[in-house]
Symmetry: C2
Subunit: 197 residues, 2 copies
DNA sequence: TATATTTACGAACACTTGTTCGTAAACTGA
DNA sequence: TCAGTTTACGAACAAGTGTTCGTAAATATA
């Protein structure tokens, strides 16, 4: 009867993807569902045919990424028990993930505080667990004499800081040179940094 | 006539201090003026006897810190023109400021995106200027053969990442060991990092 | 084809947001 | 003491928030 213009239907995935981009640009709180709707090409209320709530989007982004990192770490832990190469692999893991999906990672890094309870506590728990496993590798490396004898806690935080920053310069460096970045950071972190030649 | 219970009057400074703490904990957008009011011990409307707007608070926090860093950098630039010691001083500058006022620095680092125009553009401009001056020091160091010949852009971003993370572990490390942190990070950044002995 | 399920919509709701206004109290300086 | 200024308050406002609901169209299933 009416002209049958087939409206391009929208997938759940698209919503999460666009949400990640908006959350990255403006932050979770500053992004409205109406904004997300127009970005996706829907009316606000239509979003709720796909998702339960705004929080659900944030939770999915955060915990999906958490899962990826945990799985990656498990692989590394099961590999050769060599702290130096393990650390290098962990660097690679973070840089790769930041390259693959920068906006999602940014939300994971910066917006997890906006999680409601009980998700927030659960997330922090995962994070703590992940970090303590990194700490273990660092301590092992120190004990084995392969890492310098520095405060492992501070070492850990330094490394995490660098990794939390990777997504920033995935964008600011022109080409898609994840490999280049990996090389430079490894050079800085492992081989020694600036000084000398 | 009535019982003269003197209401403890509130200073502008207190408002900015408490705001920084709240903005740090929950983010700028997630912090309401009503929340800030009760934290300060006032009713909402009373806040506006002291400040013009919520944005003004954020602007002041961001630009005050920017000014501090710029002034600090100027001092360093005017000092001995030795890239290695200059970098060390810059590390010290960031660590000191993060130790002195962690919440303010956190807002400066993480919440500046919530600035409205035209403050946002102005802030980004300041930041760009600051970073390009750091880049210059790095490039000088490379040219003089005192830094390794690595992509200075990536070097810069790595260093900035570390500094953006400092405020996190000022809290998580027990004692107030800014000096200890300075030593470890310098060791990592300048002398060489993990490997070897 | 007819039926059931998924997706899209407009309107509305209850609530929170930052901010303003008029006014009264508290303080300051003479 | 009195005038003038600063500070605090309650009430209210307009705008924006996430979300719900009933319904209709589109798609899938049979």
């Amino acid at each position: 009867m009416t002209t049958a213009i087939s409206k391009a239907r929208v997938s759940k995935e698209l919503i999460f993807r666009e949400a990640a981009i908006l959350f990255q640009r403006k932050g979770y709180q500053a992004t409205s569902m109406r904004e997300l709707a127009t970005q996706v090409g829907l009316e606000v209320s239509s979003l709720y045919s796909h998702i339960r709530s705004k929080q659900e989007i944030l939770e999915r982004i955060c915990f999906d990424n958490a899962e990826q990192f945990i799985k990656g770490l498990e692989q590394i832990e099961l590999g050769i028990c060599n702290p130096a190469s393990q650390m290098q692999d962990i660097l690679g893991l973070h840089i790769d993930r930041a390259s693959i999906d920068p906006s999602s990672i940014t939300v994971f890094n910066d917006e997890w505080r906006q999680l409601d309870e009980p998700a927030l506590t659960r997330f922090i728990q995962l994070r703590k667990n992940y970090e303590s496993r990194l700490l273990f590798i660092l301590e092992s490396g120190i004990e084995q004499g392969v890492f310098k004898r520095l405060d492992p806690q501070i070492l850990l935080l330094t490394i995490l800081s660098i990794m939390r920053g990777v997504h920033h310069w995935v964008k600011s460096t022109k080409s898609d040179k994840a490999e280049e970045i990996k090389k430079v950071i490894s050079a800085i972190m492992l081989d020694g940094l600036l000084f000398g030649k």
